[in-house]
Amino acid sequence: MTGRRAGPLRRLLRDKGALVGLVLVGLVVLMAAGANLAPWGPKEIDRSVYEPVPPGGNHPLGTDGTGYDVFSRLLYGARISLMTGLASVVLALLVGVPLGAISGYAGGKVDTVLMRIVDVMLAFPSVVLAIAIAALLDARTVGTVIVAVAVVAVPTVARQVRASVLQVRGLEYVTAARAMGFSPQRILVRQVLPNCLAPILVLATLGVGHAILAAAGLSFLGLGPEARVAEWGVMLKDGYRYATGREQWVIVPPGVAIAITVLGFNLLGDGLRRALDPRAK
């Protein structure tokens, strides 16, 4: 038994999907890390340009109509997207994990009340709730987007963690710990939660992808950071007007970047699930 369970990492590396995901995520991390080497600043304008210029010359991916270098903004955008994705997932975990854990472990009335709240939040289509929260925060910043995306993710996290906790709490060693007279807090933190880490990790990885997608959507709707910020959703919002014009290629790079990043995290997450839980389909 130990032999088969000992190698989640090896299983991950043998998984084709996970490998592709790992490569894609690695690529995005490289982009983010290399942003300092970008030929232009994120808000720097090429004064010789006043309408989108096709790729070539000193603009590897061309410019937009403002005179910004698309390639450089794409690199800086990787930073913002990674940060948005990770920060909102961390935020959602910080709130959702305790909620789910308490709900699952305590059971009874606490569980009922908490899960009803979760039900109510899940009754909203996610974008609808996110829009309302972003409008409530009323500041066009990356922070607004992070909070909005995190809030929307909390119920999903809580529900998932609760399910895992329910599964674990029936296991022998938990019963044993209880019999030994440990306090519920101690059991929850020392015995139960560590055993839920695997599903939480899967959830978190998939969550980064979802968060990046949702954040880009909010930016596109105009509820994200202001237009000078090099964020992919913002770039697409700005590029929207070129979709029907002659300079259609302006909209391609940010969209591909988002798709690659989200795909990467999704594949990695699915791979992790398979690696950590061999019984999963």
Binding site: R116, D138, V252, G255, I258
Partner: protein, 339 residues
């Protein structure tokens, strides 16, 4: 079954109540005073007081919530802060385009997804299976608004095959008078060929873009459901009895596998509505999504409340119906496996 139905219905009521409370709480805690914004600086205290009353801004929170709820039940959400239109009227006008878009997208996703999923399951490892897997991975990774823009760029502008904006009777079928705002459904029911074709052309690109979201899940679910059915005893028995393979698949496997797929299709509505908000924005679709986004941008309180509430109601009701249908179709579940 009856007991289950009643129980589900009883559960939906407090859920909707709580959700409308959340809607009201969020929107009324927006910063700023809508009356000051509406009336401007040079206003009288009387006008301000009247506006506050009209907008239901005075009195204790719970009382105001009661007023809001009482109005909402009658579809009375007050007046648009910018245009003074009756929000209830506008919502009724804006709902049909969203419904048509969602239904067509779901239809495309279901047909394509169940076909692709079945094919992949029957011949695992072939190129078609690969296509299926790629579709189900990409479908949840590509931003739907970007896909919409690309569709516009390629099919709308480059190839110039399809229109990509405009969904009014004039855009769709000049010269035709419509009695409802369901341009597609109405022209179909009234058998107006040209109008139906026009509507179909106009809805094609947005529906295609939106369909990718449920398409991914439906393909994936169909594949695993069909695989599961194929492993069941009756398939082996049927095959052993010498039934033609087409009949085994068509009559039995596909039919049984479709039950969970139909359910999943129904439950995709939440993500579908989310996607619809983005898709509508890309295609300037005159539906609930664009109405809500504009309202959020302008902090147009009555409109935002109405839109959010309506989205929730649609979401909850459809989920409820799907759930009930599922239980009705699949007797195994009537005993209450999921409570």
């Amino acid at each position: 079954m009856l007991v289950y139905t009643i129980r589900r219905l009883l559960f939906a009521v407090p859920l909707l109540l709580a959700a409308s409370f959340l809607v009201f709480a969020i929107v009324t805690s927006f910063p700023g005073d809508p009356c000051r914004e509406k009336l401007g600086q040079a206003t009288t205290p009387e006008a301000l007081a009247k506006c506050r009353k009209d907008l239901n801004l005075d009195g204790p929170f719970l009382e105001r919530f009661g007023t809001f709820l009482g109005g909402a039940v009658k579809l009375d959400f007050g007046h648009d802060l910018r245009t003074d239109e009756d929000v209830g009227d506008v919502v009724l006008r804006r709902l049909p385009p969203t419904i048509e878009l969602a239904v067509v997208a779901l239809g495309i996703a279901f047909l394509l997804g169940s076909w692709l999923g079945t094919r992949s399951a029957l011949r695992p490892g072939t190129w078609l299976d690969m296509v299926g897997q790629i579709v189900s991975s990409l479908g949840v990774s590509i931003p739907v608004f970007w896909l919409g823009m690309m569709l516009i760029a390629v099919f709308g502008v480059w190839l110039d095959w399809l229109p990509f904006g405009g969904w009014s009777s004039v855009d769709v079928a000049p010269g035709t008078t419509f009695h409802t705002d369901f341009l597609l459904f109405e022209s179909l029911v009234r058998l107006k060929g040209a109008a139906f074709l026009g509507a179909l052309k106009h809805i094609a690109l947005p529906a295609l873009a939106l369909s990718t979201i449920p398409l991914a899940t439906i393909t994936r679910m169909t594949r695993s459901a069909v695989l599961e059915e194929l492993g069941r005893d009756y398939v082996t028995t049927a095959r052993a009895k010498g039934l033609p393979e087409r009949r085994v698949i068509g009559r039995h496997v596909r039919r049984n596998a479709l039950i969970p797929v139909v359910t999943i299709t129904g439950l995709q509505l939440g993500t579908l509505l989310s996607g619809a908000v983005l898709t509508e924005t890309v295609f300037s679709w005159p539906g609930m999504g664009t109405y809500m986004v504009n309202a959020a941008d302008q902090r147009n309180y009555p409109v935002l409340m109405a839109c959010m509430l309506l989205f929730v109601v649609i979401f909850v009701v459809v989920n409820l119906v799907v759930d009930l249908l599922y239980h009705w179709i699949d007797p195994r579940l009537r005993t209450g496996l999921s409570s």
